[in-house]
Structures are given as structure tokens and as C-alpha cells.
């Protein structure tokens, strides 16, 4: 009986090679992701619960959590707005140099983050071009949270653009035509027709940019100044401090909490996404 069911289940699969591909998937998932994450857990459990709690509630650690999360959220938010505009321009309009512009978007992916960090810190310090200009407006960018957020925006923008682009490309123009025929204004069409379609992709991009920002090290440490007093230390920097003193349990304990917080936020993003998908499919 079970055998029959089994066979029936198998015959439904049209594409062959499930076993092999599933095997590779499990191997990759466990070898590349799960085992390293499990070892984080094992290392951090070397601390007693009290030590663990004391460590993660230290002022500088709590501040680092706040800084990392808030700056990453803000940067991901800014990226969502500007990434949407960028993707829109790149998909909807034809203009000379479009291909090149499209390629430039990906540069932050390719650039070693330390190079980006050093370049940004030079540019945004008060002797740099951008920093000098902002200085005239009374804004100090490098070595503050502003500079830190700029670095996070820089590394996060490709995620949003690349998430939205394909969806926008395949978006059926007939929807918009229909909306126009039914008398919707341009803004109304965008808000009620286009944005709901882009919602899931936008959220994905937001989530990716945020996650990248939270874990970022190379590009932020040069521009943030890492000042505990100005609260410009990010979590990855505090983890590096611990690693430099060969304090693996301490480093992994902080990493574990960070992982948990990031997971919660990404879960939230996913829940919104699922909720939205349900709503649009009902319509």
C-alpha cells in the first residue's frame, strides 16, 4: 500500500534527478551553512548563562547592537526607495549609456569591501570632496553614524535594484493600460497596480540589503571611526575585538545574539511578504 503510494508520488515528478539534486542540496546546506552555524552555537555555550548574559548586556555591546540594527535598517530603507527608482529608470526608459549604468550598479558587489571603506572614508572625511561639501552644510559624515550609514547604503543598493528589475521587466503592461482606461491617474496606477506587484521583490531586496548591512565589516570600520563613545562601533567590530583577544566564546556569543535578532527581522519581513502575497492572490 505504502509502496504503491510511493510509486504514485514518484510518477508525478516529471523532471528526473530529484534524488541527486536533493542530495547535493542537503550536502551544501549542511556543509556550507548548518555546520558552521552549529559550531557558533557550540562555542558560545562554553560560557555559563550568567557570563553570557553579562557579556551581551554590556553597554558597548548593547550600543553596537543598536548601531548595527538601526543603521542597517535605515540604509535598507533608503535603498528600497532609491533602488526602486533606479530599477524603474533602468527598465522603463531607453537612453544612451543605459547598459553601462546597469553594469555600474553591480560594482559594490565586485569591489573588495575594505577598498570601498578606505575610499569612502577618504571621500567623506572633511578633507575629501564629499566631506568638504557636507562640512559647509555643517554635517560631519566620516567617523559618525552618517558615514557608517552611507557605507551601508553603498554596499546594499545592488540587492534592491537586482531584486526589483526582473519583476518590473515581466510586469504585463496591460495592467497599467487597463488602469488608465478605467480612469486611474498616474500616481494612482503606480500605488494601486504597480507597487503591489513589486511588493514582494521590494521586501526581498530590503531583507537582503539589511542582512548584508548587519554583517558588514570591511567597508564600515574605516569610515565609522569605531568610537565607543560616539556609539559608532558596529557588532562585527566588537566581535573582531573579541577575536583579537582570542576570546572565541565571547565573539560567538555576540554573533549568536546578532544572528537571532537578524533572523527575527527577516522572519518579520517574510511574514509581511506572505501576507501580501495572500492578499494579492485573493484579488
Amino acid at each position: 500500500m505504502t509502496k504503491q503510494l510511493h510509486r504514485a508520488g514518484k510518477s508525478q515528478r516529471v523532471i528526473p534527478g530529484f534524488g541527486l539534486s536533493m542530495g547535493i542540496t542537503l550536502f551544501m546546506l549542511s556543509g556550507i551553512i548548518l555546520i558552521p552555524l552549529a559550531s557558533v552555537l557550540v562555542y558560545s555555550f562554553q560560557l555559563s548563562p550568567r557570563e553570557f548574559f553579562e557579556l551581551i548586556t554590556k553597554t558597548n555591546v548593547v550600543n553596537a547592537f543598536k548601531t548595527s540594527l538601526l543603521c542597517s535598517l535605515f540604509a535598507a530603507f533608503v535603498n528600497s526607495i532609491f533602488g526602486l527608482i533606479l530599477a524603474w529608470v533602468l527598465v522603463r526608459y531607453e537612453f544612451p549609456g543605459k547598459r553601462i549604468m546597469d553594469g555600474i550598479i553591480e560594482l559594490p558587489f565586485a569591489l573588495p569591501t575594505a577598498v570601498a571603506g578606505i575610499t569612502l572614508s577618504k571621500l567623506y572625511s572633511d578633507t575629501g570632496v564629499m566631506g568638504g561639501f557636507l562640512g559647509l552644510l555643517g554635517i560631519k559624515a566620516a567617523y559618525t553614524k552618517i558615514g557608517l550609514t552611507i557605507a551601508l547604503i553603498f554596499i546594499g543598493i545592488p540587492f534592491v535594484v537586482r531584486s526589483i528589475q526582473p519583476v518590473l521587466e515581466t510586469l504585463d503592461p496591460r495592467y497599467e493600460e487597463a488602469a488608465a482606461i478605467l480612469g486611474a491617474g498616474k500616481f494612482h496606477t503606480f500605488r494601486k497596480v504597480i507597487l503591489p506587484e513589486l511588493g514582494p521583490a521590494l521586501l526581498t531586496g530590503f531583507g537582503l540589503a539589511f542582512a548584508r548591512g548587519v554583517g558588514e565589516y570591511g567597508s564600515v570600520i574605516y569610515i565609522s571611526g569605531n568610537n565607543a563613545r560616539n556609539q559608532t562601533q558596529v557588532v562585527s567590530y566588537v566581535i573582531m575585538q573579541k577575536l583579537n583577544y582570542v576570546d572565541y566564546p565571547g565573539a560567538t556569543a555576540i554573533a549568536l545574539v546578532m544572528l537571532f535578532l537578524s533572523f527575527l527581522i527577516l522572519l518579520l519581513v517574510n511574514m509581511v511578504q506572505v501576507h501580501q502575497a495572500k492578499r494579492t492572490s485573493c484579488l
Binding site: 534524488g19 542530495g23 550536502f27 553597554t59 570600520i221 574605516y222 569605531n226 563613545r229 575585538q241 583579537n244
Partner: protein, 343 residues
């Protein structure tokens, strides 16, 4: 069908693992076709240029003496990070790091035999350095000594002792100045250190980053730096910077050691030892002086009396009871640094 697929997947997984293991074992042997020995020197950032030159003269010397060729591979990076990579399995035959503590860390992992610090002369430090100030040409804020660094409006650049080994030297040098000035009155010493770090405008994660912040990004009035880094900066940017040697500083002793476990495995024990021993030869000592480090050989150091301020009063890490004690007192969580740098 499905079972077969599973089997195949398992076989594939096994193959990947096996390939990894084989690649690990099939490490090229350290003896080349012509009997050439290869040793790896894992070092820290600012020694890159010096070791490039030194390796050349050592390779010549070794060939002439032992009639076998030798090649030295170098690796550079932050001292603490380099030590960690050796502990985690980087194949180093010798380590030449920024502070003894980093080598002690490797010793604790069992890769280096205990007692390494007495294996070579002068605490196994063939070259030393001091902590000095680098200021912009003209020295606008008139910085002459540590006491000038706590004045209002002076911006100091120094890396974070919590993340950079080199930055610990800076802190300890300042602490020694305070100790002498306030005759050991701990409250006053702490107040001095607190004032000093209040003036630190940018705290980078490492010495190289701090130099970049000061030199390239034009931040701050004074950089607390290793003498060799300061000398090289002045050389690289002529007429833009001045070196100020404070009245009291600390003798920074970068240490060297053979990574016994690895060298034994590679059969390169003798060559590795020879490599470090030759650092004490007159030729190497002069090269050391040329690259801005203080030669440990007193006679040769005297030859460079124009380059180095030999009158500065230098304390050593022993004045703080060694690195382990210094870490415990000053830099561990809740130590003196945390106390004076509290928010």
C-alpha cells in the same frame, strides 16, 4: 530510481570530501626538485619591505654556506590576526610578530615549544622600536611631550587597544609617562589617561588604519605611532611630517620564533632556526636600521644615532610584569582601559 539517486548523491558527497582530504594531504613537499627548501615566514604589516630585502640576503647567505637553495615565502597582516591564522593551521615555519604575547598565544596551542623567548638574544627580539609622535610639518599645536596631548583642542589619532596589539604599546607608553610624572599616584594616572583618550578623535582598528586616517584623510594633529612607521611616513611624504620623540616611551620588542611543530613536519627546523639567527648578523642588523627599526646590536645601533633619538627614556614590557599581566590589568574586559574610556 530514487534509491539509486540517493546512492549517487552520497557517492558524490563522499567524492567531494575525499577530494578535499587528498588536496590537504598532497601538500607540496618542502623540498623542490633540486633540493631547494621552502620556509614560510608569517609576519605583521609594517615589516613587509624589510623582509623582502632580508630574504634576498638570507637566501644568498644560505646558498653559499650550505650549498642548498632556499626560498622564503612571506605573509603579512595584523599581528593578532596572523597569530590566529597560525593557530588555526596556516603553515608557518617561523613567526615574526609585533608582540611576544601573540607568539605566546601560538605557544599555548602547542605549536611552539615553551622557552622560545630565550632561544634568541634579547628576548628573541632582533630589532626593536619605540613609540613616537608624528605631527604635521610646523607642529602647529607645539607638541613636545605626552603632557601636550591632553591639552584642549589637540586631536590625537591612535588605534583601539581593544582590537590592535600595536595600540597597547601606545597606551602603555602613555601610562609609563603618567607613572613617572605623578609618582605612581594611580588616581592621577587614570585621570591623565582618561584625558588623553578624550582627545582621541578617531580610533581605528589597527595601526595601518590609524596611519591612513592621519596621513591620507588628514584627521587629527598628532598620530601616536611606531617609530619605524613614522620614519617610513616621513620618507614617503618628504617635508610634510615631523617626528617628535617624547621624553618617556616604551621599547617595543617585536619577537621572533620558530614554529617548532610545523618546521619539524617540514624538515625545515635547521633552516628556520638559521633564518632567525641570521637576523642578528651585522649585515642584517644594518638592514634593520635602514628600514627604521632599532638594531638590537648596540654597536650597530650607535651607527644610526642620527636616525634614532637614543636619549629617550625607554621602559619595557617587563616594567608592567610582562604581557599576560599587562593584558589582565589594562586591556581585559573591565580593566583599566575600560575604566578610563567608559562612556
Amino acid at each position: 530510481m530514487r534509491k539509486q539517486g540517493k546512492k549517487r548523491a552520497a557517492a558524490l558527497a563522499l567524492m567531494i570530501v575525499a577530494a578535499g582530504i587528498l588536496a590537504g594531504c598532497a601538500k607540496q613537499t618542502d623540498f623542490g626538485k633540486d633540493g631547494t627548501i621552502t620556509i614560510t615566514n608569517v609576519s605583521y604589516d609594517p615589516t613587509r619591505e624589510f623582509y623582502q630585502e632580508y630574504n634576498k640576503i638570507f637566501e644568498d647567505y644560505y646558498r653559499d654556506t650550505y650549498k642548498t637553495g632556499i626560498t622564503v615565502v612571506q605573509s603579512h597582516g595584523g599581528s593578532g590576526g596572523q597569530a590566529r591564522s597560525v593557530i588555526e593551521g596556516a603553515k608557518a615555519d617561523v613567526v615574526t610578530l609585533a608582540l611576544a604575547h601573540d607568539i605566546t598565544m601560538i605557544e599555548k596551542s602547542g605549536l611552539i615549544d615553551s622557552g622560545w623567548i630565550n632561544e634568541f638574544e634579547g628576548n628573541s627580539s632582533p630589532y626593536t622600536s619605540a613609540i613616537v609622535f608624528l605631527v604635521r610639518k610646523g607642529n602647529e599645536k607645539n607638541i613636545k611631550d605626552w603632557s601636550d596631548l591632553i591639552k584642549q583642542g589637540v586631536e590625537v589619532i591612535t588605534p583601539d587597544p581593544k582590537s590592535s596589539g600595536g595600540a597597547c604599546w601606545n597606551f602603555l607608553a602613555a601610562w609609563q609617562y603618567a607613572k613617572v610624572t605623578y609618582q605612581g599616584d594611580e588616581e592621577k594616572m587614570k585621570a591623565f589617561a582618561a584625558d588623553l583618550y578624550k582627545n582621541v578623535s578617531v580610533m581605528d582598528s589597527g595601526a595601518r588604519g590609524a596611519t591612513t586616517t592621519f596621513v591620507e584623510n588628514g584627521q587629527g594633529d598628532v598620530l601616536i605611532a611606531w617609530e619605524n612607521e613614522a620614519i617610513n611616513t616621513v620618507k614617503e611624504y618628504p617635508n610634510q611630517y615631523e617626528i617628535i620623540t617624547p621624553s618617556i616611551s616604551i621599547l617595543a620588542e617585536p619577537s621572533v620564533a620558530v614554529v617548532d611543530e610545523n618546521a619539524r613536519k617540514d624538515g625545515a627546523e635547521k633552516a628556520s632556526e638559521e633564518y632567525l639567527k641570521y637576523l642578528y648578523s651585522d649585515k642584517a642588523q644594518r638592514l634593520i636600521g635602514e628600514y627604521g627599526y632599532r638594531p638590537s646590536n648596540k654597536k650597530i645601533l650607535a651607527e644610526f644615532s642620527e636616525k634614532f633619538d637614543l636619549n629617550v627614556n625607554l621602559c619595557t614590557i617587563d616594567d608592567f610584569g610582562g604581557w599576560d599581566a599587562a593584558y589582565e590589568t589594562f586591556f581585559a574586559d573591565g580593566g583599566i582601559f575600560d575604566e578610563i574610556y567608559a562612556n
